[in-house]
């Protein structure tokens, strides 16, 4: 061990691997992180929003200001889900690079946490760019939009942990399409991103309350509109709900990485 200095933790080395991978597609990725919110906010916020006149149900703000923070949280959810599925399957099944890491002093737990750390950084990049676009579009009503960035990251992590835990149990990506089709897309549409859930039938409202995206959207919107402290108890519930999901998800992810790699 004499020549082996230990300047960094095992988790940071796993993170470094994801960073080296990312460096290859860095420019295209940053570009699309800008373009995608610009297109959405232009088409739906300005284009479609021009026809939305019932401002009262939206809290008395223009539709663009209502929609933008919702899309921020939804984008974090989608990005997190992508990062927690295919790259995890890649490391465990396709290229097997996680197996290669485990042959070194790095443990399965380090691999799980290093990937979560990377996902956190990715979500921070995406959410920051999205928030900048929101400000450029004049859709932020409050300087608290800055705090919508960590709120969106937390929303993403509430998805990333549990979904990565699931991905670590799979041998093929067949079920990932189902996650997007029956999980992510309905959440995207019915969790208050595009319209207040008050417009839904009562049964569906209850259901929407149970979904993590609803809580994420409530936080980012409350921050962007500056209404976050109107109902502090609800805000606390949103945060606790998302933190719990992210924490439980991370534990499950570590457990499943252990089961998969230590055989």
């Amino acid at each position: 061990m004499t020549s082996l200095a230990r300047p960094s933790s095992p988790i940071s080395r796993v993170f470094e691997h994801r960073f080296v991978q990312y460096r290859r597609t860095f420019r295209a990725s940053i570009f699309s992180s800008f373009i995608s919110p610009m297109m959405f906010l232009t088409a739906m916020g300005i284009g479609l929003g021009g026809y939305v006149t019932n401002d009262a149900a939206l809290g008395g703000v223009p539709y663009l200001a209502f929609l933008a923070p919702g899309l921020l949280a939804a984008t974090a959810m989608q990005s997190a889900t992508f990062e927690a599925t295919f790259p995890i399957m890649g490391g465990l099944v396709w290229s097997k690079v996680f197996h290669a890491m485990y042959a070194t002093p790095i443990s399965p737990r380090d691999i799980a946490l290093g990937n979560l750390a990377w996902i956190t950084v990715r979500l921070t990049m995406i959410s920051t760019i999205f928030s900048v676009v929101i400000v450029i579009f004049g859709a932020a009503e409050s300087p608290l939009i800055v705090l919508a960035i960590p709120a969106a990251v937390l929303t993403g992590l509430a998805f990333a942990g549990p979904i990565a835990a699931f991905a670590a149990t799979q041998k093929t990506p067949n079920k990932f399409a189902a996650i997007f089709r029956f999980g992510i897309t309905p959440l995207f549409l019915f969790s208050g991103t595009f319209f207040p859930i008050g417009s839904l039938p009562v049964v569906l409202q209850g259901l929407a309350w149970l979904t993590p995206l609803f809580h994420g959207v409530a936080l980012t919107r409350g921050l962007s509109l500056g209404t976050i402290m109107d109902d502090p108890i609800a805000t606390a519930i949103h945060v606790i709900y998302l933190v719990t999901l992210a924490t439980v998800g991370a534990h499950l992810m570590i457990r499943n990485f252990d089961r998969r790699l230590i055989r």
């Binding site: 095992p10 691997h17 290669a100 070194t104 790095i106």
Partner: protein, 312 residues
């Protein structure tokens, strides 16, 4: 098992691995001495890979004793892995990265500094004859190149022990010989090699000592030469008969050799002087379609020990 003069680097007694009700490794004993080149020879499913994974500290021991460099894999896994080089059966390269990036990121997993990793990567690229491909992506490389990169990668931490699980399976003869040459050089430098193979020639080329595994157990142990002497004769005469003829031979070959094995496509006659067996067969009026006299190999040892060929 005989006591070794040098303290053993890897020490196993009653080593057992079970997956549920299936026993992959059944109470095996072996020792590997420092600087030795040690092989596990056996067919697929004999338990070679499971044994290697236990030594590599990525698979918990079910039962028995295992120490690697004097340490306990259950308690000191990361410390042991820090001093091992591992060449898995299937390449685990990151095919999206370049050849050099694969080496440097792997060095980083061991906590080496960027400067150190870069210096070692240059040396290893040269050793693996991949310098010209250093900045190419891994994906389009040939099987032999990927294998050499995997071996180079396993050396980035300057390991005390190199574990190679079927290092040349699937490679063409030229690529295989190049790889053997590289492994031989490592051995010359004092690196302890532990390898699994189902190729006789590989075991004979690379191993000072080997164990033959079959059905989760060790069935023989020794140097390739000693095993051949113990379980086979100096030469083997292979007789190939026209289809249908072999079944009508009954007893016509008796007494021609010390031992006779009937394989589906040929008959093997074990004797110290193969040519005299051929002469005797001709004298009995037998007319084989093809005759081959060769030196005995580990393949013959395996056949003798298990009654089956190594590669079906």
């Amino acid at each position: 098992m005989s006591e070794l003069p040098a303290p053993s680097l890897i020490h196993a007694r009653g080593l057992t691995k079970r997956f549920g009700g299936f026993t992959a490794v059944d109470a095996i004993d072996f020792d590997v001495a420092p600087g030795e080149s040690f092989g596990f020879l056996g067919p697929n499913g004999a338990g070679k890979t499971s044994t290697m994974r236990m030594i590599g500290c990525v698979s918990p021991v079910t039962n028995g004793l295992l120490t690697v460099m004097g340490m306990d894999p259950a308690k000191q896994g990361p410390l042991i892995r820090a001093r091992l080089g591992v060449v898995p059966q299937l390449d685990t390269l990151d095919v999206e990265l370049t050849v050099r990036e694969n080496l440097s990121i792997y060095g980083r997993y061991f906590g080496l500094s960027r400067a150190e990793v870069s210096r070692r990567a240059d040396e290893l690229l040269d050793f693996a004859q991949l310098t010209e491909r250093a900045d190419d992506q891994v994906e389009p490389l040939s099987g032999g190149m990927k294998r050499r990169l995997t071996i180079a990668r396993s050396l980035i931490n300057e390991p005390t022990v190199l574990l190679l699980d079927e290092p040349t399976t699937g490679l063409d003869p030229q690529a295989r010989h190049l790889l053997w040459d590289r492994l031989y050089r490592l051995k010359q430098r004092g690196v302890t090699l532990v390898l699994t193979t189902h190729y006789m020639d590989e075991a004979e080329q690379l191993c000072d000592r080997l164990v033959v595994m079959d059905k989760a157990k060790i069935v023989a142990e020794g140097s390739p030469r000693a095993l051949i002497e113990q379980y086979s004769t100096r030469e083997v005469t292979e007789l190939r008969f026209a289809p249908g003829i072999a079944e009508t031979l009954d007893g016509q070959l008796d007494g021609l050799a010390e031992r006779i094995e009937h394989l589906p496509d040929r008959v093997l006659l074990y004797a110290d002087d193969g040519e005299s067996v051929v002469a005797a067969a001709h004298a009995r009026g037998l007319q084989p379609e093809a005759v081959l006299v060769r030196r005995s190999s580990l393949e013959d040892v395996f056949l003798r020990l298990t009654g089956r060929s190594l590669i079906e």
